[in-house]
């Protein structure tokens, strides 16, 4: 599913030395894995997720997604990949302001083929048990509900890969548990999930843990005693 080879990302800065966010990171993720990426802040987690999510291109190294080398893709080609294969979930939910839950869920369809299928969007909301809140604005929903809307939006185009950047970081335990339950469901359906987290309990749900420090991959291990959701 994911093959990264000596991936480096350097951010040039006008007023100081260049920042090496990633230094020659190499790893593979097979289809259907559930991977947690951990590390202190500034360790390169977000840079890695941006590249994996085709939002950004590596400075050096190669990235093969589902067999395709996307490291040199154009902006338009990357946009196409994001639209077809990747679902994003963010720490701060990122729902559009002054827009209903339903309209938020519909947005990815606009960029996939322009066919906005309301029934499909409602089904996705049903899936995260928010169908009755479809016409509520983001500001009228709780944090957990907003994140579930974001999940519905992430899965509307049926992506193979779900990337989550601290999806429970802004949520209390109950709401976070709900979100993790949905993510686990998506994984059980056969999707690949890569999530960044600081939370041990969340990381414990994953079957594999990658640890970054100063842009280098320092540890990559299978989590044998993967916990079930009930432990979260």
């Amino acid at each position: 599913m994911i093959e990264v080879e000596k991936l480096s990302k350097t951010h040039e800065r006008a007023d100081g030395p260049a920042v090496h966010a990633l230094r020659e990171v190499s790893f593979r993720v097979e289809a259907g894995e559930f991977v947690a990426v951990r590390g202190a802040s500034g360790s390169g987690k977000s840079s890695l997720l941006n590249i994996l999510g085709c939002m950004d291109r590596p400075t050096q190294g190669s990235y093969r997604l589902n067999g395709q080398d996307v490291s040199a893709y154009s902006d338009r080609q990357l946009a196409r990949i994001r639209s077809q294969k990747i679902g994003f979930v963010f720490q701060s939910f990122n729902l559009l302001a002054r827009t209903t839950a339903l309209e938020n869920v519909e947005i990815p369809m606009v960029y996939l083929d322009g066919r906005v299928d309301r029934k499909k969007a409602l089904a996705a909301l049903e899936r995260v048990r928010l169908r009755e809140r479809a016409n509520h604005y983001g500001s009228e929903l709780s944090g957990g509900e907003q994140q579930r809307v974001a999940l519905a939006r992430a899965l509307i185009n049926d992506p193979l890969l779900i990337l989550a950047d601290e999806p429970t970081g802004n949520l209390d335990q109950t709401a976070g548990g709900e979100v993790m339950r949905i993510l686990l469901d998506l994984w059980r359906e056969g999707r690949t999930v890569v999530l960044i987290t600081h939370d041990d309990a969340v990381a414990a749900c994953a079957r594999r843990e990658i640890l970054l420090r100063d842009g280098r991959l320092v540890s990559d291990r299978q989590v044998d005693s993967a916990k079930t959701l009930e432990d979260v």
Binding site: M55, R76, L96, T99, Y111, G114
Partner: protein, 374 residues
Amino acid sequence: MKLLAKARQAGRGVVRFRRRSLFMMAGSIVGIASLTVLDSIGENTRRETMARVKNMLGTFDTVIIRPGGGKTRGMVSLANVEPVLKFGDAAAIGSEVSEIRQVAQLQNAFDVDVTYRDRQTYPGVFGVSSNWLDLRGDRIERGRFFDADEERALARVAILGPDARNELFGAEDDPLGKSIRIGGVPFVIRGLLASRGAGPTGASLDNIVLIPVTTASRRLFNRDFLTMLIAQLKNPEQGEVAAGKITALLRQRHKLAPTALDDFTITNPRAVLARLTGVSSTLARILSGVAILAMLIGGVVIMSLMTIGVAERRREIGLRRSVGASRGDVLFQFLLEALLISVLGGAAGAGLALSVSMRSRHSKSFRWCSRETR
């Protein structure tokens, strides 16, 4: 299909931030409306000036000869001209300058009392030749003008302008055939002039009484010189040529030494008109400048609101990109939003300007333009 869906996102963007959209529209409404209104004021002023000049002169295919070498200012009259322009000069110009079709003569005064019974007024008393109507574009509303026979016979007949008629007769009394006294001399009213409205200075052109120039000269004023000649050109383009020939002829008739200055002034109305419309188009340009400034301010308002908007919506841009929008898609959306706002604002501004213009058409200052297109 895809384009339509993206366009709809832009439309929603406008509605979602409706307050900001309205402010931006206000910017373009103000800009467009002021541009349109000020520009139409400028254009109207220009037309109005032209109309008023035309109003005073009647026709443009003439040259005007006034006594006195200096540039005589204001309206001539027997009280303020040099006694150099004679009846013989008018006849000579008519017969010897081939570019001239005919010459009208004027001998006028403003200090003559005109009475009817117990009413008295001081209109401009204009002794004019019988071809006056042709050259000035005056129209007779009722009755008739005097003819060449009456002019020769020193007939005591008068034509009243609307203001003089109102002063003497009021609205109800019929002046035709009535006898009035001009400077104590009795005259019979033969005709009534249609209104001409205002001249270039805005003063009325209607407060006049016309009588035959011969009668004025011999029976009323006892003066043998004229206050103005109007020479009609056969070809309107030949004003300069005719003016040159008239100058030579008059200098010879007035026996001026080669070193002496002209004792008369020739004006070509086309040149005057060009100068006047030049002045009013300067005004129009200044107004346009102000309008463009207003437009620019409107533009800056839109620009700053849009810039703030993009900064605030950086998160939205990131989100849209993450769900599959390319940079081009984001650009398309924001440009289309801006386009929608400016087109809607522009249309509203144009509508506003139109309603302001329609309203001012009925107001006094604009009335001339519509009236003079007769």
